[in-house]
């Protein structure tokens, strides 16, 4: 028996998920809304003094990005499991890890990438020095896929539970803590005009590790959840 190759399966899954996301664009934009709202609330609640905002900017941006992707992880697989399409994915001849990786990629394109693109605007609102914006964007570009991948593994694990929301956050947070630390550090160092390449390499290494290990973890966790 022959079946279509891995590339076309990945592409089919990715385009299907993007098409579904675009038909519900409001829902897909939720994490971005959250990110923008939280970061713009800080100047209102604290004080609009530039020195204070500049000092807290790295922390605020990174914590909001982390919470925004945590918020998004919950919905990653739930619908597919509930309407039975996940069973059909598990029963297709394609490796489940590949299909779930494609789903996570589409999820990142809809929820992670907008955070990266919105970072300059948010940074500007928090008086982040212009020199620090490219480094922050690059660090977010490396970090948000890790957040999506870690979220996907944990979402696959908890999707069988009726109320997995709180548990999901508890599971994801410790895993993504290094990303938060390195990411905020990258912004901080760029603000002081220090060399950020070391932090970037670390983030890139974490991303490579996540891309190579997470798909197998997602597939194994999903098979348990479907059992």
């Amino acid at each position: 028996m022959e079946w279509p190759g891995l590339g076309s399966a990945f592409w089919l899954q990715l385009t299907r998920d993007l098409r579904l996301a675009f038909r519900h664009i409001g829902q897909a934009a939720n994490p971005l809304m959250f990110f923008v709202m939280v970061t713009t609330l800080f100047p209102l609640a604290l004080s609009p003094a530039p020195e204070l905002l500049e000092a807290i900017a790295p922390g605020v941006i990174w914590v909001s990005a982390l919470l925004a992707s945590l918020l998004a992880a919950e919905s990653l697989f739930r619908q597919d499991v509930e309407d039975g399409t996940m069973e059909q994915l598990a029963l297709s001849p394609q490796p489940l890890s590949l299909l779930l990786l494609a789903k996570t990629t589409s999820h990142w394109l809809m929820t992670g990438l907008p955070l990266v693109l919105m970072a300059p605007v948010v940074g500007h609102a928090l008086f982040l020095p212009t020199e620090a914006i490219p480094a922050t964007m690059l660090a977010l570009l490396l970090a948000t896929p890790v957040l999506s991948l870690a979220g996907a593994v944990m979402a696959a694990l908890t999707v069988g539970l009726r109320r997995g929301g709180g548990l999901l956050s508890l599971l994801i947070l410790p895993v993504v803590m290094p990303v938060l630390i390195f990411g905020a550090r990258a912004t901080d160092m760029a603000m002081q005009a220090l060399d950020v390449s070391g932090v970037m390499y670390l983030l890139a290494a974490v991303l490579l590790l996540a891309i190579s290990l997470a798909p197998a973890g997602m597939a194994a966790a999903m098979r348990i959840s479907l059992d």
Partner: protein
């Protein structure tokens, strides 16, 4: 021909527990090309669970399922390429049309032209509804989309869980007709249904659970 008479699907001593209750034990059967196995039993005796074990979604407590003589776990991609499972749920994305749903689901397993998919949808009587989002189809029409999936998949083994649900009289006849033709092409059918099926020829067998 030797290949035609070989046992394709075999379950050996299957046993499944759900929590503290034993759903079934010592279930064994063999299925050859052109045969239909009708699984019957009262509600809650584990018919659907048995189907899920047989298609590899659930692991049995003991026992093994063999496809073409090889253990399922070692032969997963090959087995899933030759299997089509119609479960309780229709596995349709509500926001995609019937056609888009089929293009995606079948695209993962075989190369099909749009004409093949139109043909299958025409056969189940949904030609006029193929560009309607699945959420506005009726329950019976959704079931017909699933039937079209089985038709177009080219799978050797059909695993059908209550295929008659929600279908009108003509729809139930269509299911019987589809199964007869499939058996005529040396296909295999695993059927869970409370009512008697109307398949006339082919080798029919019954497995009673509970």
């Amino acid at each position: 021909m030797a290949e035609d008479t070989a046992v394709l699907l075999e379950g050996k001593d299957l046993e499944l527990w759900r929590g503290e209750t034993r759903l079934f034990s010592k279930v064994s059967f063999q299925l050859k090309a052109g045969e239909l196995l009708h699984i019957v039993g009262p509600n809650g005796c584990g018919k659907t669970s048995l189907l899920r074990v047989l298609c590899g979604l659930t692991l049995p407590e003991t026992g093994e399922v063999y496809w073409q003589g090889k253990k399922l776990a070692r032969n997963r991609a090959n087995f899933h390429a030759s299997t089509c499972y119609l479960g309780h749920r229709e596995s349709l994305k509500a926001d995609l049309t019937a056609e888009e749903n089929l293009v995606f689901q079948l695209g993962l397993r075989c190369w099909l032209s749009p004409a093949d998919i139109h043909g299958a949808l025409e056969r189940v009587g949904l030609t006029g509804r193929r560009t309607v989002p699945a959420r506005s189809l009726s329950a019976g029409q959704k079931r017909r989309v699933s039937l079209a999936r089985a038709l177009a998949s080219g799978a050797k083994l059909w695993i059908l869980d209550e295929p008659y649900t929600n279908l009108d009289v003509a729809g139930r006849e269509l299911v019987d007709q589809m199964m007869s033709e499939h058996l005529g092409r040396d296909g295999l059918v695993l059927l869970v249904a409370h009512q008697a099926h109307g398949v006339a020829d082919g080798v029919r067998r019954r497995l009673e659970l509970g």
